[in-house]
């Protein structure tokens, strides 16, 4: 699993893990029905506590992205019809864009960045 934790990131580790997995799913690098590494496995790979990974998986499960089956690990769930209120989606986007604007990037460059990231996510098809 291509996840890297960043010690300087102020987000809790379990959320870094959850967010990274979301990106992998969105990018199609983890596909529907595909099994995730076991909690133990991933914890070992990343050098973190079991609970940290368990919490991350639970969060993803709560959002409907994962199905956890006792004894047989977690798999990516059907991607259909998830419902996140529109407003909640806009806030992080707005904040991220504001940061780019404040960094002084011109409109074209920001759009370039967005496009680049978005294509990267979408090229894995869904």
């Amino acid at each position: 699993m291509l996840i890297r934790l960043d010690m300087n990131d102020r987000r809790p580790m379990y959320r870094q893990v959850a967010d990274e997995i979301k990106v992998l799913i969105a990018a199609g690098r983890l596909r529907e029905g595909e099994p995730l590494p076991s909690v133990r496995q991933l914890a070992g790979d990343l050098g973190v506590n079991l609970n940290t990974i368990a919490t991350a998986y639970r969060e993803l499960q709560d959002e409907g992205l994962l199905t956890v089956r006792h004894g047989s690990g977690a798999v990516v769930t059907s991607l259909t019809t998830r419902s996140t209120p529109r407003r909640e989606l806009k806030k992080p986007l707005r904040t991220a864009l504001a940061q780019l604007v404040l960094a002084g990037l011109p409109r074209a460059e920001i759009l370039g960045l967005v496009s680049e990231e978005l294509e990267d996510l979408l090229k894995g098809a869904r």
Copy 2:
């Protein structure tokens, strides 16, 4: 000041305040040299403790967006190109976009949203 705190948001309140102010600055709704409400004033308006706002202002000051002077107040400062490492800017953007993709929005709609938010930020000129 058009700031609203969201109880469901998991970010700490002081960061919500700081992020909202960043958006206002990026959008040009708070312009260079313009004074911010006093710590006590804003705390009262938002119904939070004075220290919460003080922490937010301090964070913005550390990022160079605000100049705080003791007996006076806080004003928006130098919008001159701040140096935030490119990688740090991309991560939140990536996460926000992944969330949109996972919500099932088609590429066109996502780009539409981005465009809409970005124009809203940029139309205030910088």
Copy 3:
């Protein structure tokens, strides 16, 4: 931890703590990877509030000297070349030297003092 707060010092207590820790790190008496006392522990030792120490640690974290992890504690981090603008480094030095000159110390004695302090810092190797 060999830290002593000075009531006559006009710096806020949290900065005294932060500055003292910086000296300890610079002198190699706190080495990379070494854990710091917990916030509560140090607060108790120094007889101050927990928040005061938390603020000091946060300041050090912002400067990249400490890595603080939630459930664990704080450890000394990267001594890799930090980038502080040259001018900011010179100002405190200049002020300290001016004070020595005004105290009437002859050049030789000042240089002796500097040398003494500097060797003390450097003898811990880096």
Copy 4:
């Protein structure tokens, strides 16, 4: 008067003024008996409040560096026999040096900086 205030400096303005004047005196650019600009004059030049300068002068007076005479302004006082306890002189020096060490400057460079600043201060004779 060659004083420049730095908005980003966290020290209160009156102390910046006082410290800068100390440097000027130490460097001999303000000599014994020489008059300082009036409070009004300096306040106007620096674009700050009268009280700010008055406080700075009072601080210098308390340290015996200035003599303020009603109606005729302030002059630099006799530089003889000021007594600042040795320990108080060492602390700022130690902190400034620690900062240089943490910035990764090698011993030689630090000594070079010290020497440079010190010569600059002393070349004006006392």
